[in-house]
């Protein structure tokens, strides 16, 4: 009788540490979070009182929560409109550059070595209404001064703006690699057949890097919907709660208000929401294929 399953021990051995760390540091905390969400959690005598879905109903009825959800999706829309397409355009342009290509790629990568928080702090100084560089430059052309982080109308934009200039390093490389993987003969043949730059872009280049765009979009979506550090450093969620996003509310509910059960329930909600969005996006992509 032949064995139906052959175990390749060596690959399994290599995989073991990552599987173990995933189970320990990802799945266990996730399941624990779901468990906590059903309790009026006591951190001193866990788990506290079982309250069923009460934590969920509490935050779902909370205007503060929905304000944070609204802020989160406004940020998502702003990041999408202002930053997501930038590395695609940069990669397309870079693929046309023959001379000094490596230099440009290096220069695009350079900002990515700067820690996110350090970059945000630099921008925070630039936004300072009294001695910030941005208002100084704008004053030279008769504009401003603007209260970048104080004005309820523009604070969100001010938080997103830095990503427009220095947030595309790795994405750009991925897009660039995908573009370079398109066989040159095909592009040359299209050129010979009279396809102009726009036609080649829409019918050949973008479809060929579509897979990378989808991957990047999924990562982008989860990254933006769970954004925390850059917003926290810039505004701590203020002014007047105008930049408080759900991940920030999760942390403050747990660690400032000591309501760990509700905080866990919010986290589960966010997880389910992002998972659903990912699934929907996946289905739409498959349907289009």
């Amino acid at each position: 009788m032949t064995r139906l399953i052959r175990i390749h021990w060596l690959p399994a051995l290599f995989l073991l540490p990552s599987i173990a760390s995933y189970l320990l540091f990802k799945y266990y905390p996730l399941l624990r979070m779901v468990y906590i969400s059903f309790y009026q959690y006591s951190i001193v005598n866990p788990p506290g009182v079982f309250v069923g879905l009460s934590n969920y109903s509490q935050f779902l009825r909370s205007a503060t929560f929905w304000q944070a959800v609204s802020n989160t999706f406004i940020f998502f829309a702003l990041y999408l409109a202002l930053t997501f397409w930038v590395p695609i355009v940069q990669a397309l342009l870079l693929s046309e550059v023959r001379k000094g290509n490596a230099f440009f790629r290096f220069m695009y990568q350079l900002p990515t070595i700067m820690p996110v928080v350090a970059g945000v702090l630099v921008w925070k100084w630039m936004y300072n209404p009294d001695f910030g560089l941005l208002n100084y430059w704008l004053s030279k052309v008769g504009l401003g001064p603007y209260l970048w982080l104080n004005d309820l109308r523009i604070t969100k934009l001010a938080i997103v703006l830095p990503s427009l200039f220095a947030g595309s390093g790795i994405s750009l490389l991925l897009y660039y690699s995908a573009i370079r993987a398109i066989p040159t003969e095909i592009l040359e043949a299209a050129k010979m057949d009279g396809a102009g730059p726009w036609r080649r872009l829409w019918t050949m280049m973008l479809p060929n890097i579509r897979f990378i765009i989808i991957i990047q979009f999924v990562a982008f979506m989860s990254g933006v919907l769970l954004a925390y550090d850059n917003i926290y450093v810039m505004t701590q969620g203020g002014p007047a709660g105008s930049t408080t996003v759900v991940s920030m509310l999760v942390v403050s509910t747990a660690f400032q208000q000591s309501r760990f059960g509700i905080s866990g329930a919010m986290s589960v909600f966010m997880f389910v929401m992002i998972a659903l969005l990912t699934i929907v996006q996946n289905k739409l992509t498959v349907a289009k294929d």
């Binding site: 009294d130 209260l147 104080n150 999924v218």
Partner: protein
């Protein structure tokens, strides 16, 4: 599974990890070190005659390691070494907390079953921590201590809940209005008249505001701690933001006349008098910096800030301290704050006794006097308030301006604790304050009503239901 599905699955895992990360808070990056080895020659008299070194070695963890740039690092380490010498059988591991992240770090440790045996906690946190059972009930330990009567009764107020004692007083401060005497003199202002009431202060602050010199009258606190100083104005108007009822429940009074008047005055300072900094939500450190660099002519603050200002180069002769201008009620209570040592309720009796002994040692007459002497020797402006009755602060303040000391002492005559349930309600009061500071059209009453409605359903109702269970 097609490639896209694989990526979706991978992304979902990423999302999981991020959600979990967001839920987990900051890491404890604390460093620890074992205290110096003990010497058997010491006597156990400094802290408390009832505290003796245990027969067997007891190891405790204290979150009290000073930061590398702390002004009193040498002093704290010297006292820790003195304790190790005096109590050879109590081994203390000192752990440093991350500045500005102390609360999150502590709650993470508690949630992870790693609560330190002894740690300091600020006054406003006591009520919520006690409600969750975080600090140990030390009533028996306290009552057994022969040193207990040497502490000011008022120093125990915020640690006494339901007749039980949960904290050992560590330090106290009193707040008021810090003002730059030099700028007041240049503007021809007499501080006593200028700081008399809200109207006189508004007019004086206008005289102190000069855009050409990048100087303004009043550093307003509009960041996410905005309720801290705003509550003083509510007191000045004769009210408070909350009331604790006799059954322990909370009643919100955000929309009381006093609170509305206070917020209207805040609004006036910004939009009518135009005497605040442009960036009204700037960090409190920036407010302080504006003050000691001479950009801000006044700021609310603690008397214990004066030492920091002096260390940054501001002359003590230029620093004035006063009660805040009186509001419509004609009064101007100062806020008393401070911190307590709390013990871990899950630690065994030996550890609790050892932690109590350690905390009492650090709040002992000997330690507090040594602290004042250290400040005097090193030119550090001392905290004029102490938790003990048997320490004579005046012995350690030679050469300091008499009027400054007198005004600080005067500020302690009428004091107030912060509003009840602040740690949970702060997130609701602050946006209302920020709205009127950021928008000229915002109506104080409307914003406070919105804040109260939200806080009622999201905090007060659930809290009161918990209390009534």
């Amino acid at each position: 599974m097609n490639p896209t599905s694989k990526m979706s699955a991978a992304s979902s895992l990423l999302i999981l990890s991020l959600v979990v990360t967001a839920c987990g808070g900051g890491n404890n990056e604390a460093q620890s070190s074992v205290s110096p080895s003990a010497s058997p020659s010491a006597s156990p008299s400094a802290a408390d005659s009832s505290s003796e070194s245990p027969a067997a070695v007891v190891e405790i963890v204290a979150w009290d390691k000073p930061a590398a740039d702390s002004a009193d690092k040498a002093f704290v380490e010297q006292r820790q070494a003195a304790f190790a010498e005096q109590y050879p059988n109590i081994k203390v591991t000192h752990v440093q907390q991350t500045s500005g992240k102390e609360r999150e770090q502590f709650m993470t440790a508690v949630a992870g079953g790693e609560q330190p045996d002894v740690v300091t906690v600020a006054y406003p946190d006591m009520e919520t921590y006690v409600a969750q059972g975080i600090p140990a009930d030390i009533t028996d330990l306290w009552n057994a201590s022969s040193d207990k009567d040497n502490f000011l009764p008022s120093s125990l107020n915020a640690a006494t809940i339901g007749g039980k004692i949960y904290g050992i007083p560590k330090d106290m401060y009193v707040t008021g209005l810090l003002y730059n005497k030099k700028l007041f003199a240049e503007a021809g202002l007499n501080p006593a008249e200028a700081l008399k009431d809200w109207d006189s202060f508004g007019a004086a602050a206008q005289q102190l505001t000069n855009d050409a010199k990048n100087q303004y009258g009043y550093a307003i606190l509009g960041m996410d701690w905005a309720d801290w100083f705003f509550e003083y104005y509510v007191w000045q108007a004769g009210g408070d933001l909350t009331e604790q009822q006799s059954d322990g429940t909370v009643k919100l009074t955000f929309t009381s006349d006093a609170a509305v008047q206070a917020l209207q005055y805040y609004k006036d300072l910004k939009w009518k008098y135009k005497v605040t900094q442009k960036n009204v939500v700037q960090n409190i450190d920036d407010n302080q910096k504006d003050f000691y660099t001479g950009h801000a002519a006044s700021t609310p603050g603690g008397a214990d800030w004066i030492g920091n200002f002096a260390s940054k180069g501001m002359s003590l002769d230029d620093i004035g301290f006063s009660a805040l201008p009186a509001g419509p009620s004609g009064t101007s209570p100062s806020q008393v704050g401070g911190s307590y040592w709390i013990l871990n309720p899950k630690a065994d009796k030996e550890k609790q006794q050892a932690a109590f002994t350690y905390a009492m040692f650090l709040s002992s007459k000997e330690t507090i006097e040594a602290n004042y002497q250290y400040a005097k020797d090193n030119g550090i402006f001392p905290n004029p308030l102490t938790v003990r009755k048997d320490v004579e602060v005046s012995q350690y303040v030679d050469g300091l301006p008499d009027d400054l000391l007198k005004s600080i002492q005067d500020a302690t005559k009428e004091t107030h604790l912060e509003y009840f349930l602040k740690s949970r309600l702060s997130a609701y009061v602050v946006p209302a304050v920020q709205k009127v500071l950021l928008s000229e059209n915002a109506d104080p009453k409307t914003e406070l009503q919105k804040a109260q409605d939200l806080a009622q359903t999201e905090v007060a109702d659930p809290y009161n239901a918990e209390i009534k269970k």
